[in-house]
């Protein structure tokens, strides 16, 4: 009885043959939908901060350095590659790329920084409506706990200040 089962098990192994892939020498092709590191396209982005407000990991910060320049900072530290930012972006400025070999020693390596020239509404600074009410609620950015939670907070400044907008940014910049 037991011998028979051993034979059957051998058969299972023999039938399988060699299946190990020669990775990293040769990588398995990735499916089209693969969600790798998000890539931000500065030419498309309108700086609406929809992505920042919907990122579960709070990986995207948007802040203004002066009236005309808005910075979108993607930190790339604990991004989970969930793709929510790409989902909500109205301009399709974010693509989930095929990059997955992202191991690095320096925490800032994966970050991206866009400098956006703005000519948005001076009063509300927004130009984008969320696809659903839940999302809409977040687009308004009115929550009192915003700053502390790395939420994007709207603050337009006519001149550059020394003081940091959010503590985190400076750490990531150096």
């Amino acid at each position: 009885m037991s011998l028979l089962s051993k034979l059957e098990e051998t058969l299972v192994c023999l039938k399988a043959g060699k299946v190990t892939l020669p990775y990293p020498a040769q990588a398995q092709p990735l499916p089209e939908k693969f969600r790798g590191r998000p890539i931000f396209d500065a030419t498309k982005c309108i700086g609406c901060a929809g992505c920042a407000n919907n990122c579960p990991a709070r990986e995207i910060l948007v802040f203004d350095v002066c009236q005309e320049v808005r910075i979108l900072q993607y930190l790339g530290r604990r991004c989970t590659y969930c793709g929510r930012c790409a989902d909500v972006c109205p301009e399709k400025a974010i693509t989930m790329s095929q990059e997955f070999e992202n191991g690095t020693n320096a925490i800032g390596d994966l970050g991206q920084r866009l400098e956006l020239f703005m000519s948005t509404c001076q009063r509300c600074g927004r130009c984008f409506k969320g696809p659903s009410v839940l999302e809409d609620l977040k687009m308004k950015g009115y929550r009192s706990d915003d700053l502390q939670n790395e939420r994007w907070i709207f603050r337009s400044r006519a001149f550059l200040e020394e003081e940091k907008t959010v503590d985190d940014i400076q750490i990531e910049l150096d």
């Binding site: 089962s5 051993k6 098990e9 299972v12 299946v19 939908k33 929510r84 839940l134």
Partner: protein
């Protein structure tokens, strides 16, 4: 009408002591009772009506109602009913009678409630700290609303050590864990052994407690949390993702479109497939049969690939948002999925036929780690552990969600209650999962993937959701709240209940069987330890203090 009938029964029995009740649907029952009778109500439900204990939840409701809230959840599996017994406690006196004398399974949940919310279970016999780190001050309860989510109390004392219980007389202590080759995640068992026989053990876990619930309740928003919930578990993440979303949907009375429900079902079953194959592999690995470990993993791999094709990731599908799903199953993927399933079925059949006769595996697993029907009832065991003991429960059938009410499948049970039976149950469930996916692919209708949500979600509503994870029932409880986020979200992962029974499963067994007994519940410690707020390295070693360790690790980084 079962919810109403049940409620009538309670009313007859307890009359005016039932304050009010809420019957949102025929499968849910919320009863609010006075705290003086909560113990008796629970006893009645658990003993006389023979319900299954699910979980106890403590919540700080003071900012809204001025009271604390305790919920004891029970499941009437045969009647397809989930029932929650709720009690409000005054803000200045958060005490409630412990139900552990009648419902032993509530032990951990009550200890956790005391640690995190500061509700005292009066009459609990073993009130040792369970969840919080050893150095955490006594009077700080992180899940209270007045505690900020990122606070480290000033009184935190990293040098305070954990005090172990005294071993019984004549026993030697053998430490098992926190890091052990057969444990994938940290947990510490202090085994009391007499010769080769294990006589008892003390469990110390919650070492990777990550504060997920607090984070969700104070920082994140409804549609962020699914991505966080998914990271509760490294193997059955999609389960938590779906369970959370369903709980919110239930609270807000939203019904996702049918296609979304089918897709949820398919992804959940894909997850079960890869999880069961992984478990069979690991079980073989634990008993020293690495050939089959390799083969299981080989057979499992195509499942990961197809999941990647559908969702963009092998494991973290990021599937749900409130009111629907994010990924579609296209006709091309459908064809490929069918081919993958066919191949899997043939290959798995060969493995099952070989393994089910293998003497070596049988010798290592027969009569080992037995959990009988009694233990299943007392400890609230679930999933394959319960089914292997002949207890016929399965949330997919008993509390149908997603599209499970539209597919046919069998609930696999065995009678032995030992590790061998669990192995058989899991091996056979693979075929049922394949069957379910095939039916879903046939029946799936075209249509939208997401519900359009027009209004803000209502506030202060409760939702329950039970999802059958590969390891057992995963239960989520949500109270909706302000600011686009839930007020309270409680996750009860299957290992939370199953792990509590391990000390009784390994009692009077050879110490060498410890590993497979523990392995057989398919433990998932990160699920169990959802909510730590601070590093728990204190007291592990005397050579390095926590400070020094931190310095050391930080120095290495640069």
């Amino acid at each position: 009408m079962i919810a109403r009938e049940m409620f009538e029964k309670f009313k007859q029995r307890f009359g005016p002591l039932i304050e009010r009740a809420d019957l949102p649907s025929d499968r849910r029952l919320f009863v609010f009772v006075d705290r003086s009778v909560v113990k008796y109500v629970c006893q009645h439900i658990f003993r006389e009506l023979d319900a299954r204990y699910v979980i106890t939840i403590g919540a700080d409701d003071r900012p809204f109602s001025g009271k604390f809230l305790v919920a004891h959840n029970f499941a009437f599996d045969k009647d397809h009913l989930l029932c929650s017994v709720l009690t409000q406690l005054p803000a200045d006196d958060p005490k409630i009678d412990s139900i552990t004398d009648m419902v032993p399974a509530a032990s951990w949940a009550e200890r956790e409630m005391r640690d995190l919310v500061g509700i005292e279970p009066v009459g609990h016999r073993y009130l040792k700290r369970l969840v919080l780190p050893d150095g955490w001050p006594e009077n700080n309860h992180p899940l209270r609303k007045d505690v900020p989510w990122n606070e480290v109390p000033v009184e935190f004392d990293p040098d305070r050590e954990f005090r172990f219980d005294e071993p019984p007389e004549g026993c030697t202590v053998v430490p098992f864990g926190p890091f052990h080759p057969t444990l994938d995640e940290p947990a510490h068992f202090r085994l009391y052994v007499e010769g080769e026989m294990v006589r008892g053990c003390e469990y110390r876990g919650f070492m990777v407690h990550r504060g997920i619930e607090k984070l969700a309740e104070s920082v994140m928003s409804y549609n962020d949390i699914p991505m966080l919930a998914e990271r509760i578990c490294g193997i059955c993440g999609c389960v938590h993702n779906v369970a959370y979303v369903q709980a919110v949907e239930e609270a807000a009375v939203l019904k996702p479109p049918p296609r979304a429900e089918y897709i949820r079902t398919i992804m959940l079953e894909l997850e079960r497939l890869h999880s069961h194959l992984l478990w069979v592999g690991l079980a073989c690995h634990i008993v020293g049969f690495d050939t089959l470990f390799m083969q299981s993993f080989r057979i499992r791999e195509p499942i990961m690939w197809i999941a990647e094709k559908i969702s963009g990731n092998r494991k973290t599908y990021a599937l749900c948002v409130i009111g629907g799903v994010r990924w579609n199953i296209t006709p091309e993927v459908k064809i490929e999925l069918r081919q993958t399933l066919d191949k899997l079925e043939t290959e798995w059949r060969a493995v099952v036929s070989a393994v089910s006769k293998d003497r070596n595996i049988q010798k290592r697993t027969w009569g080992v780690g037995v959990a009988d029907k009694d233990l299943v009832k007392e400890s609230g065991l679930i999933g394959p552990v319960a089914r292997a003991a002949g207890v016929d429960i399965d949330c997919r059938r008993d509390h149908p969600y997603a599209a499970y009410d539209r597919v046919e499948f069998d609930v696999i049970t065995e009678q032995g209650g030992d590790v061998w039976s669990r192995l058989l149950v899991r091996m056979k469930e693979v075929f049922e999962s394949i069957r379910i996916i095939r039916q879903c692919l046939d029946k799936m209708e075209v249509g939208p993937l997401q519900l359009e949500i027009k209004d803000e979600l209502p506030i202060g509503r409760m939702g329950l959701s039970s999802v059958e994870a590969p390891r057992g029932e995963s239960h989520h409880f949500v109270i909706t709240g302000e600011n686009n986020r839930p007020r309270r979200w409680r996750v009860r992962a299957p290992t939370y209940q199953n792990l509590q029974a391990v000390p009784r499963m390994i009692k009077d067994q050879q110490i060498a069987d410890m590993t497979i007994s523990l392995g057989s519940i398919d433990p998932c410690f990160s699920c169990t330890d959802r909510l730590e707020t601070i590093d728990l390295r204190s007291g592990v070693t005397k050579v390095w203090s926590q400070e020094e360790l931190l310095k050391l690790t930080r120095a290495k980084k640069v």
